[in-house]
Symmetry: C2
Subunit: 182 residues, 2 copies
DNA sequence: TACGGTGGCTAACACTGTTAGCCCCGAAGG
DNA sequence: CCTTCGGGGCTAACAGTGTTAGCCACCGTA
């Protein structure tokens, strides 16, 4: 990832990733990042034009990782649509749970797509579209469901005793089984 | 709403709501809010303990308004489950589109439920659970879908030509028709 | 008349992203 | 060998953030 980043810029992005994972979005400040690198905050700007660019780098890498996380589910394509969708959903959910702060960074606000590594968003989106047989409306519905479940779980939005597994299963099954609109 | 707020506190919350709607989440600062009220920022703290409390007030009011927005859909309960769910979904989506900044404030992060107006979250959640015949897992799945669709639309996450209406319709129909798990 | 609460105020602290301007060091060219 | 130039650090500073401390004026009440 990130062939167009200088070596030093890549080091900074890598440190930012660790900082983000360890301390969350609020902890990701230019001064704290610089501290981890043993330099001062303004020096970062010799390598990256602003914080937004840094975040876009993290987001781009996140998409690549997410696409990679989908690969096993795609590989197991022998099972029917329902199995593939279930596997993709589980991979998506696990990505969110393993990288909650990165996940929030990736989804909280608008993407500025022209500053992401090109193609990376489509790369992560394709497996679900294919699993849905090219039905983009249904794929978008399933994506919205997966994102909603993931972010609501991360934000502790479900009641304490809620059976999140069951809600995932019900939703994914209903969407995977959806008939063609008529 | 908000019987436990002093009159002055309620004025401040009302001004904050206007500021939020007009200038977005980033514009909602204590100094800018104070400016609109003709006072200085520290004076706000005579009426509200901190910014979080102010935001919680906005969020609580938001839930009340959201519950109110659901009422027509509930009233039209004569149609089958599919119609009621569609109407609830449309009401939810419209709430998000009419109040995008408030919607983000309400959903972006964890709720600190103990500081919200009590019962207000349940008030907004009940109509969907009832529409789903008390099936809480399915209601949660539908809620996740609706939230996902709304926030992805607000964050311009769908491709430019995407048929968001169609994705909404597909998802809500599939979920409303979901059979009992077996 | 004195008092206490209400609701303002200024000054300040610790933080944020970011810019301007300085300096050192190492590599390359004349 | 000397010079020049760019990479990559630095400090100081600015405007903004939430928040606290401490001061003061008013106003109703005992």
């Amino acid at each position: 990832m990130a062939e167009d980043r200088s070596a030093r810029a890549q080091e900074i992005v890598a440190a930012a990733r660790v900082l983000l994972e360890e301390e969350g979005g609020d902890g990701l400040s230019m001064r704290r990042l610089a501290e981890r690198l043993g330099i001062r905050a303004p020096s970062i700007y010799k390598h990256l034009p602003d914080k937004r660019t840094l975040e876009n780098a993290l987001i781009s890498d996140g998409f690549v990782e997410l696409a990679a996380a989908f690969e096993p589910a795609v590989g197991a394509g022998a099972g029917g649509r329902e199995q593939v969708v279930a596997a993709l959903g589980a991979a998506y959910r696990n990505f969110g749970r393993r990288h909650p702060h990165l996940y929030r960074l990736m989804t909280d606000r608008e993407l500025d797509r022209e500053h992401l590594t090109p193609g990376v968003e489509e790369l992560a989106a394709r497996p679900l579209v294919e699993a849905m047989g090219g039905d983009v409306d249904l794929a978008r519905a399933a994506f919205a469901f997966a994102h909603g479940m993931t972010v609501l779980e991360l934000n502790d939005r479900f009641p304490p005793g809620a059976d999140v597994d069951a809600a995932w299963a019900r939703g994914l099954r209903a969407l995977a089984r959806a008939d063609d609109p008529g």
